[in-house]
């Protein structure tokens, strides 16, 4: 670890991969993609960074402990089904708010999208919890 080529490439690739994962997450409802795949992509992005640098810098880059992200994801995914109950619908009934954004076309905000964001965070949290723990055990 610690090759200059890897470090330089990682610096360039990381923002692209992060953006790409969000892109995959958001388009998932209509095209191949979704929270699960996007979560795996973002995890590999951070894993790449881990190989290029070290555990401490990866943690710093992620900003939050992956275990926290895992719990947050579970919370978001669960809560995305709750408001429906108060509207007299079943748990997890999809609610939709399509918004017309000038220049971008129609954006479909919805509770399934919120749920998918939860999936994204759970996958990211779970993978990085394991990867970082293994890497720390290595050090």
């Amino acid at each position: 670890m610690g090759s200059l080529i890897l470090r330089t490439t990682t610096r360039l690739l990381l923002p692209l991969l992060l953006l790409f994962s969000v892109f995959i997450l958001l388009r998932g409802h209509d095209e191949p993609g979704g929270g699960f795949i996007a979560g795996l992509i973002v995890s590999t992005a951070f894993a790449l960074y881990l190989f290029a640098f070290d555990v401490a810098r990866t943690r710093h880059l992620m900003g939050a402990d992956p275990r926290l992200l895992l719990g947050l994801g579970l919370l978001i995914a669960t809560l995305s089904g709750v408001p429906q109950i108060f509207l007299g619908e079943a748990f997890f009934t999809g609610l939709w708010w399509p918004i017309e954004v000038p220049g971008l076309g129609e954006i479909k905000l919805s509770t399934p999208l919120v749920f998918d964001i939860g999936v994204y965070l759970v996958v990211l949290g779970a993978v990085m919890t394991i990867v970082l723990a293994l890497a720390e055990a290595e050090e």
Binding site: I37, L40, T44, G73, P112, F115, A133
Partner: protein, 767 residues
């Protein structure tokens, strides 16, 4: 009503904070809630007396026939009044008894949760909600019994109570569900209107046995009576509450509640009559040989529970009246006596009656209240306990089929209880003042309010029996008996058989009181074997057996070798799936048209080659690379058959596998050949059997034509119902979102498990 039942839970959450901010006198403040509830329930009394049972209905899970509906009739009202009324005094008392205890705020919290569970239990009209509250009482009472959690004995006893009652609860759950299915409704008011539906049902015997298993364990009937005396490790306010109006009375309550639906048969009569009478006798006998103030009372509770069960079993009009009168009398004097026992213990520092004496001068109010309450326990006029006992003798003498058996046991029990009541009320207070660990003085007002009021009520109800009779006992009897009954309670019934039996019992009691030391000595010398071979030994043996089985099956199933787990999983899958498949569909596998293009064949060949190399190579990197080949080959197949989502996921998983492998590669031990050639052949056969089975299954699936496959439906709905064009994602996040949520939790738990394994290992290394 919903607020009334649930307010206890709400206050339970708030009470630790309240108790801390109010300080010393928090007990008086917190007692306002049960007092308010008491008044609230009192408000129902005229309504119920005039227009019968009230049902208050809140739908909860209507699709499953689970409702929060409450049934307010004489029986539930009697219990609700006892729970809230005695609860008021218990909370005040606890403030004094546990004064300065560091965990007092926590005590209030559990106590209110327990009280609310108990109220929910007696007021529930739905069998399922009733069961939920039933289990809540088990759990909260476990926390109360184990309140002194630093004491090993307390933890052990609390666990014993929990295991016994929850084991019975499991049986009860099955019984209640069977009642619901058999009667076609889970609402008690509908089930109980026509009892013959249950009595004539083929499941009747099963239902009764299961319900009895639940009620007998909860109400400490022989042979599961042993947990109740042990439950006295709890602080005295808990014992007073558990024994008088709650917890152990829950079983009695449910028997009484279900009496109109299940009672009136020979099975009911003999099961309840015999078990109840034996419990009554056992409790009295064990009380006689006890010297601890609380132990005596605990055993008399067993006596009372046995009496109540016996009376419900006898089931005649007189027996039901006796049961309800006895229940009320017992709740009043038992709560008072327990609180007084706590006062004695608190002020002298000892629980042993042999070490107390001459406290009359120092604790005059305690002495007076003890005398009144104990007279009610002994069943002497003019106390309410006397009315209960007279009615009981009348009921046993008139019991169909069991008259002789129950009457003899009842008189014998009454003798012993009268003797012990005298011992309890007289011994600690008379004679010369003995040296005790603490210098005794009168208990504070918070600890005397309850006993004085409750003992006073026992006296008042005895002198003026028409008050409880008209207010509540009559409607309670009607609820248990299933038909309106005229109830009159008074002291003097004329010179008749019950009076003769009462005189006999009291005379016997006086003799036992005078000869108590000799009784104790006789027991110690001749009857010590009872302790060695009692029911509690059976419980201990059962627990040891359970642990032994657990160890044995863990040794067999959890060997710790990954290869053994894999073998078991694979072989079970092959055998079970194969057996189902070949057993139910015949062995013909329709091959159908299987067309290959050449690149499909090439990818498949690569996958197979990769798998073979991976299993024979002796290099780790080689194995990793060839396994990667298998994975990417599979991904390609997904892409070829237009499943891009699966393809992408597979590629990402392969990538992550490599990452994880890199992280652990250098930590793995050197590559060794551990298995013999025979083992390897066996493993290969296992692997091949799974592969063969899966191939056959996939081929067979191809040949099956489903007339209306669900995938067509989902595809059709994908855009119209869920506004998504990617059917895979729509299924994951919308149609099957609940499944996905479950899987998310699995992923989360797996991550935590792996994390724990890695971290603990690292920490072990460091040490």
């Amino acid at each position: 009503m919903l607020i009334a039942v649930l307010s206890g839970f709400i206050l339970a959450a708030a009470s630790p904070w309240l108790a801390r901010s109010v300080g010393d006198k928090a007990g008086w403040l917190l007692a306002l809630l049960p007092a308010a509830l008491f008044v609230y329930f009192l408000g129902f009394v005229p309504t119920v007396n005039e227009s019968g049972a009230q049902v208050i209905h809140y739908p909860w899970i209507p699709a499953l026939d689970v409702n929060l509906s409450f049934l307010v009739d004489g029986l539930s009202l009697l219990f609700a009044l006892l729970i809230s009324g005695i609860g008021t005094f218990i909370i005040i008392y606890a403030g004094g008894y546990l004064h300065g205890h560091p965990h007092l705020p926590r005590f209030y919290a559990i106590m209110f949760a327990f009280m609310a569970s108990m109220l929910g239990l007696v007021l529930s009209n739905n069998l399922i909600t009733l069961f939920v509250f039933w289990e809540l009482t088990s759990i909260t009472s476990y926390l109360l019994m184990g309140f002194n959690h630093e004491d090993k004995n307390a933890r052990w006893c609390a666990l014993q109570g929990l295991l016994v009652t929850v084991a019975g609860g499991l049986a009860l759950m099955a019984g209640l569900i069977m009642i619901g299915v058999a009667a076609g409704s889970f609402e008690l008011n509908e089930i109980l209107t026509d009892g013959d539906v249950l009595r004539d049902h083929p499941w009747y015997i099963g239902i009764v046995l299961l319900v009895l298993a639940g009620c007998f364990t909860k109400s400490a009937q022989v042979p599961t009576h042993f947990w109740l005396p042990n439950a006295m490790v709890a602080p005295t306010p808990v014992s007073a509450f558990l024994h008088s109006a709650t917890m152990v009375k829950a079983g009695v309550y449910l028997l009484a509640r279900l009496n109109p639906g299940l009672g009136g048969t020979d099975l009911w009569l003999y099961a309840l009559g015999i078990v109840g009478a034996l419990t009554m006798f056992t409790g009295s006998f064990m009380a006689l040989r006890s010297t601890g103030v609380k132990a005596v009372l605990a055993y008399t509770t067993i006596m009372a529970l046995g009496t109540l069960v016996m009376l419900i079993g006898i089931g005649t009009e007189g027996a039901i009246i006796a049961a309800m009168a006895f229940l009320l009398a017992h709740a009043l004097y038992k709560a008072a006596l327990f609180m007084l026992a706590g006062a004695l213990d608190h002020e002298t520092g000892t629980k042993d009656m042999l070490k107390m004496g001459g406290l009359r001068q120092l604790m005059p109010i305690t002495f007076l209240a003890s005398c009144v309450a104990a007279l009610s326990l002994a069943g002497l006029p003019p106390l309410f306990g006397f009315i209960g006992k007279e009615l009981m003798f009348a009921a046993t003498a008139g019991a169909p089929g069991l008259a002789f058996f129950t009457t003899v046991l009842a008189v014998a029990s009454a003798m012993m209880i009268a003797g012990m009541a005298a011992v309890f009320a007289i011994r600690p207070f008379t004679g010369t003042l003995k040296e005790t660990p603490k210098k005794p003085h009168e208990a504070p007002p918070s600890m005397l309010a309850g006993p004085v009021v409750l003992a006073g009520l026992g006296l008042l109800f005895g002198l003026m029996g028409f008050i409880p009779a008209a207010a509540i006992v009559q409607s309670a009897v009607a609820a248990v008996h299933g038909a309106p009954v005229e109830v009159q309670l008074y002291l003097w019934h004329g010179i008749n058989l019950p009076l003769m039996l009462s005189i006999l019992a009291i005379a016997g009691g006086v003799v036992l009181f005078l000869r108590w030391e000799r009784v104790l000595a006789f027991y110690r010398e001749r009857l010590g074997f009872i302790d060695r071979f009692g029911a509690e030994r059976g419980y201990e043996k059962a627990m040891e057996g359970l642990v032994w089985i657990a160890e044995w099956q863990t040794r067999v199933l959890q060997s710790g070798y990954l290869r053994r787990y894999l073998t078991i999983t694979v072989l079970s899958t092959v055998v079970l799936t194969g057996w189902t498949f070949f057993g139910h569909t015949g062995s013909s596998v329709p091959l159908g048209e299987v067309g290959f293009t050449f690149y499909e064949f090439a990818v498949a060949a690569l996958v197979v080659a990769g798998a073979i190399v991976a299993s024979v190579t002796s290099s780790r990197i080689g194995a990793a690379a060839t396994l990667g080949m298998v994975g990417f080959g599979v991904a390609l197949i997904y892409v070829m058959f237009s499943a891009p989502d699966l393809g992408i996921t597979q590629i990402m998983i392969e990538t992550l596998t490599v990452i994880l492998l890199v992280l652990v590669l250098f930590r793995l031990p050197g590559f060794l050949k551990l298995s013999s050639p025979t083992d390897r052949i066996k493993d290969a056969a296992t692997a091949c059997s799974l592969g063969a089975l899966m191939t056959i299954l996939i081929l067979a699936v191809n040949g099956v034509t489903v007339t209306d496959p669900i995938s067509d439906q989902l595809t059709a709905w994908s855009y119209t119902e869920a506004q998504g064009r990617n059917i895979v994602n729509v299924i994951l996040v919308d149609f099957r979102a609940l499944d996905t949520l479950g899987e998310l939790f699995v992923v989360g738990l797996a991550a935590i498990g792996v994390y724990a394994m890695i971290r603990f290992r690292a920490e072990d290394r460091r040490q």
